[in-house]
């Protein structure tokens, strides 16, 4: 299966199928269901400098072909990660990548710096797009200037592969992608969740404790796909595409739109084995279409 290999920055991935931050715990949660060694990589839960309790219950609402969440970066902080989680996950037979979140540039920098020292952590994903925290988070991802400044600051302390995760809640995502590329990001990943809302009409209350939350799942796929395609035409660094992927057809769509690799998010909840099924499905597709490497498919739409 050498032909499934892809390269993201310095990372050599076994295949383009990874799992999205916040939907896959620390990998451990899924080890009863799948062999983690079959995945290209695992993006672990958003990690912040300080521990966070996250938002109040209720934190989720189901929507047509998707869900809203307002988890709000609940995590035990980067120090706890380094001391207690890293030792457990570092020997998993796949790339384990930490998703770094924060409210201030200093937070991001301090957190990234602590992770830079970890031997078996080849990359981080900078989450400048979380809609579920009161300050910072998404705000960094919604203007070129702030996206650039957080990338620049982290780039200075983080020499390994730096992936910046973009927010879809913007007028022009290509412009944001260009601005983080200019500051030395090795790759971009997109999309994070869309800011959405749902109301319980009988109780006349928002369904989430935070009123608004992040929308994910198949419902967002057409928009996410369009954004990947736009970013593909705007930058030269690798793109990790995601948003509503449930099967190999969805994954191929993202690759054809320009993604070098993809992440499966919410659908892991529905089918915890979805990711490995998608690896197999991509492989079969390549066979059927006589394509010798998945890299040939990237951005490879036929002319019309």
């Amino acid at each position: 299966m050498a032909r499934l290999e892809v390269q993201i920055g310095d990372l050599q991935l076994r295949n383009p199928v990874m799992t999205a931050s916040g939907t896959f715990g620390y990998g451990t949660e899924y080890s009863d269901f799948i062999d983690l060694g079959r995945l290209g990589g695992v993006f672990v839960k958003g990690t912040t400098l300080e521990p966070r309790e996250g938002n109040d219950y209720p934190r989720m609402a189901e929507t047509p072909s998707g869900m809203l969440n307002s988890v709000g970066l609940q995590n035990k902080g980067v120090d706890y990660f380094v001391e207690h989680l890293y030792p457990v996950i570092k020997d998993y037979d796949t790339h384990m990548i930490v998703n770094v979140s924060g409210s201030t540039i200093e937070d991001y920098v301090a957190c990234a710096a602590k992770l830079a020292g970890l031997d078996k952590m080849p990359a981080i994903e900078l989450n400048i797009s979380c809609p579920n925290v009161k300050e910072g988070g998404m705000a960094f991802g919604t203007s070129c200037a702030s996206a650039a400044s957080v990338t620049r600051a982290v780039r200075e302390v983080y020499p390994k592969t730096l992936i910046v995760k973009l927010s879809p809640n913007v007028t022009d995502i290509a412009e944001i992608a260009r601005s983080v590329e200019a500051e030395g990001a090795d790759a971009v990943s997109l999309v994070n969740t869309f800011l959405g809302m749902a109301i319980d009409v009988e109780r006349r209350k928002p369904k989430l404790s935070t009123i608004t939350g992040g929308l994910s799942g198949p419902c967002i796929k057409p928009i996410a796909l369009r954004m990947v395609w736009q970013v593909y035409h705007a930058v030269n660094i690798p793109i990790i595409g995601m948003g509503g992927i449930t099967n190999w057809q969805d994954a191929i769509e993202f690759i054809l739109a320009g993604a070098d690799a993809i992440q499966i998010g919410t659908y892991n909840f529905v089918d915890p084995a979805a990711s490995v099924k998608i690896v197999d499905g991509i492989n079969d597709y390549l066979d059927r279409h006589h394509i010798s490497s998945v890299n040939e498919l990237v951005g490879g739409m036929n002319h019309f």
Binding site: P64, G217, N268, F269
Partner: protein, 257 residues
């Protein structure tokens, strides 16, 4: 935890809303150990409005028949669809999920209080207690007689007391006002049902210094600890109701603060 296809052996309609569905692994593999209080996540096919699985308690495990029983109230589209299952249908489950009720080593008086479909996990719990040689009292509540489900089954494992809102069966009123609670002294209470009922039971247990475990029904997206959506505030902070629960010791919760 496993993901496995089950085959529906039977689907019995117990009253206007509730179904007892018995399922067995389609590949005939033996069921792993399942403990009372644990639950399954059911994939709901064929509904345009349902994306996530639906969490349902294990109502009973019949080891001889390699069967899991699910007692399901069709209240919305997801449970509605599940209850349309017919013998021979496939059902994809994640199981067994979550924590279980603690089966204490000691003898003593056990009370299991359930309301509505919240009685589901108590049948299996009663059986386990019975197997350990302790028999327990069941106190079950519902709106009227037809809402007190599986009476015959419960009676096998202990003494059944009931309360109905309309007085059509057992005492009239809520379970939490049942005379049993005044007349008998318990050492352990296990409860599952609507939140207001469980809170009332919890207060009673607290007031009387009785050890108490409650089973929660928080909204869940994954059911196995990956999404952090189902959190319950505990004395240790926010924890996942799907992995650290659904069964919690009352002492851990912040309900009575």
């Amino acid at each position: 935890m496993k993901q496995l296809d089950f085959t529906v052996r039977s689907n019995e309609k117990l009253n206007d809303q509730n179904h007892l569905i018995k399922v067995t692994p389609s590949n005939h593999e033996l069921l792993p150990e399942i403990f009372p209080g644990q639950f399954v996540q059911i994939l709901v096919d064929n509904s345009p409005r349902i994306f996530l699985r639906r969490p349902i308690s294990v109502n009973f495990v019949n080891k001889e028949k390699n069967e899991v029983w699910l007692l399901i109230q069709a209240i919305g589209e997801g449970t509605g669809r599940i209850c349309e299952a017919v013998t021979g249908d496939r059902m994809n489950l994640l199981f067994p999920l979550g924590s279980s009720f603690t089966i204490p080593g000691e003898k003593g008086n056990y009370l299991l209080v359930g309301g509505g479909v919240g009685t589901a996990p108590l049948l299996f719990l009663g059986k386990m207690l019975h197997d350990k040689g302790v028999s327990c009292d069941f106190l079950l509540g519902g709106r009227s007689e037809k809402d007190i489900l599986q009476r015959r089954d419960f009676e096998k494992y202990g003494t059944l007391y009931c309360a109905t809102e309309d007085g059509s069966f057992g005492e009239k009123g809520f379970v939490t006002r049942h005379s049993l609670l005044e007349n008998k002294r318990y050492d352990f209470i296990f409860t599952c049902g609507p939140k207001p009922m469980m809170v009332a039971v919890a207060k009673y247990a607290h007031r009387n210094g009785i050890a108490c475990e409650v089973s929660l029904e928080n909204l869940m997206a994954c059911g196995f600890g990956a999404c952090l959506c189902c959190i319950e505030k505990t004395i240790r902070g926010n924890v996942c109701a799907c992995t650290e629960g659904p069964v919690f010791n009352l002492n851990e919760l912040t309900w009575l603060d």
